[in-house]
Amino acid sequence: MRIPLIEIAGPPRDRGRQYGEQAREQIERSIAWYREQFVATASLRWEDVTANARRWEPLVEAYLPDALEEMRGIAEGSGASYEEILALNGRGELSSGNPFLEEEECSSYSILPEASGDGHAYCGQNWDWRSAVLDTVVMVRVEQPGRPTIVMQVEAGQVGRQGANSAGIALNANGLGARFGNALGIPQPYIRRKILDAWDLNEALEAIFRSRQSLCTNLLLSHRDGFAIDLETTPGRHGWGYPKDGVLVHTNHFRYFVPKQIEGTYRLVSPDSLYRADRLERALARSRETATSVAMRALIREALSDHFGYPSSVCNHPNPSDPWYDQNETVASSIVDLTTGEYWIAHGNPCRNEYELLPWNLYDGAATPAAAAA
């Protein structure tokens, strides 16, 4: 497997150290990349970023204190500074707002058992981000006392992004371009980690509804029991929607509502978002016709490898006309079988990279708080 696999366990500081040690190289690369990227995209010097990074601390302390400990551990284990790890976990908040840039673009999906030919619950996404991130993306398995075990895909050093947990909850995420309000909010990795720390959908929604965020982002929650909900989250109101005929797809534009704050002027930063959603939806609607899990994964792979509108397609390829810091492509593509607990990942574009089965089954971890305590 080409994608680095990081396995960590224990109390927050310890598992952070393990993370830092195992992902040292990728963390160094990520810092080097964002150091240049922030200057180019947001006119932010790395020294200024790290000098300000601690302003997030009180917010995170109140929301997810263990994450701070984990990051102190990551810093110790990797040799980076704590402020640098804070910055890696605030990269979305730091780099958004530049009108000339493409946002993080992703195509996410959830397929309920009633819609899949093999009766399994599936979810996953194409994660489209800077080409350079291909070399910094890692898979992390987090075994943590009193909380579900998490398997997630992140940029090295981040404490949360997209993934699934041993309680049968999966999270996929997509940028939503828009920005309003200028208050300091809780950066996305912490919100997403708190969702993946949840034992049930109520806890997951609590993480989303009782947070103060500064970005707009789409969060797709899927549950092994055949439930999915998609939330278009903003610093103010959140919109939400459900699968139609057992399939839910979301890309990078508001589909359930347009926030009042931007209602007068809202236009898509990523117009390809419109056809990516349609292409993926139509391809996945055929899930019912498959008979086996092998056929289901083949169908999902085909859907995620779609090249309509190439290179700005579902399977996203770099556009040579974009500047160096804005070269995007699908850096990872996932298929999570929430019924069996299998997590399949393609490192890079799914059109030319096989999905490989992670050596970790989701359900090797505890499913309930009682099981975790035992």
């Binding site: 049930d200 959908l201 109520n202 929604l205 509804f209 439930f227 704050q261």
Partner: protein, 361 residues
């Protein structure tokens, strides 16, 4: 089974006395509960609450004078003060403003073939504070020439959710948002006037003309196969119609988000976001049922759903937030047959039993 209270005197005052006498113990339990609750939730002592309660009288008087007479009678019959019974009928309005005070409930309506036995159904779980279960009664009001009503209430209240002999079912769910100012007609009087209606026109007119202080979701079902859901607010009301004969509503705005709160609206009972669709998932199976027993079994399963337990459709106390909420009652009303089925607490434990009263008898 929950305590059954039957009142049938011709004069409202006398009906109230009958109510007060029969439900004295439950009213006492309710007064005890809300004394503590108001103090805790809004810092209002009982003396202060009862001192202010008469301010509602001129608001209620022109809206529902008979109900006010009933309230006076309840006080006389139970030995509590008029002001105390007024407070019990304003408990939503008195607690409001607390952002964590939302009434949980999941309501449903099945019309036009959505139930396989061809009947029209409505009902709900009623999720409320642990400690209120001891005060819940089932009330039958015979009040010629107005329709006869069956409803579940906290003892001392003159309206909440139920159905009447004109074939109208009313289910209700809290919508915790608050905006607008001034004293409005408290929810029990509005709901009672809806249940006093002979026709859907009368019932809907009540909602469209009343001046209310709270947001509240009201689901109307008629035995003739009509259903509409109104997300009512002190100003605009949102309208939601059934899809394929089915409508489910919990505690979040779905039809609209009022402009007054549009920028920042986030439902505080976010468990609504899975409670409603979970009930829908179950109830979709009702279409395939072939007998009334089977249909009711599917509905009972829907209302007993434990997804995301304990904050599930069938709500149990959650030790993580102090164990304050539970399903205190659940109801299935067969508006076609006139059967009124009740679960005295969590449906997963109790199941549903029919009341000895038929709606149309």
């Amino acid at each position: 089974m929950l305590p059954l209270v039957e009142i049938d005197a011709a004069a409202p005052r006398e009906r109230g006395r009958q109510y007060g006498e029969q439900a004295r113990a439950q009213i006492a339990a309710s007064v005890e509960f809300y004394k503590r609750e108001f103090e805790l939730k809004s810092g209002l002592g009982w003396a202060e609450v009862t001192r202010r309660a008469p301010q509602w009288v001129p608001v209620i008087e022109p809206f529902h004078a008979d109900a006010l007479e009933e309230v006076r009678g309840i006080a006389e019959g139970s030995g509590f003060r008029f002001e105390e019974i007024l407070a019990l009928n304003g408990r939503g309005e008195l607690r409001a403003g607390n952002p964590f005070a939302a009434d949980g409930c999941t309501s449903f309506s099945l019309t036009n073939g959505a139930a396989g036995d061809g009947h029209v159904y409505c009902g709900q779980t009623w999720d409320w504070r642990v400690g209120t279960k001891e005060s819940i009664v089932l009330l039958r009001v015979v009040q010629e020439p107005k329709p006869t009503i069956l409803m579940q209430v906290e003892a001392g209240q003159i309206g909440r959710h139920g159905a009447n002999s004109a074939g109208i079912g009313l289910n209700a769910n809290g919508l915790e948002a608050q905006f607008g100012f001034g004293l409005g007609v408290p929810a029990p009087y509005i709901r009672r006037r809806i249940l006093d209606s002979h026709t859907m026109h009368e019932a809907l007119t009540v909602v469209m003309t009343v001046k209310q202080a709270l947001c509240s979701n009201l689901l109307f079902t008629h035995r003739d196969g009509y259903c509409v859901d109104l997300e009512t607010t002190p100003e605009r009301h949102g309208v939601l119609e059934p899809v394929d004969g089915m409508l489910v509503h919990a505690n979040a705005f779905l039809a609209h988000v009022p402009p007054q709160i549009e920028e920042t609206y986030r439902p505080s009972s976010f468990d609504s976001l899975f409670r409603a669709p979970r009930v829908e998932q179950h109830l979709r199976r009702a279409r395939e049922t072939r007998s009334t027993d089977e249909t009711r079994r599917v509905i009972a399963e829907a209302l007993s759903d434990h997804f995301a337990y304990p904050n599930s459709v069938c709500t149990h106390p959650d030790p993580r937030d102090g164990g304050r909420w539970e399903t205190v009652a659940a109801v299935i009303v067969d508006l076609t047959a006139g059967d009124y089925l009740v679960s005295p607490g969590n449906p997963c434990e109790h199941g549903f039993e029919p009341l000895p009263w038929n709606l149309y008898a």
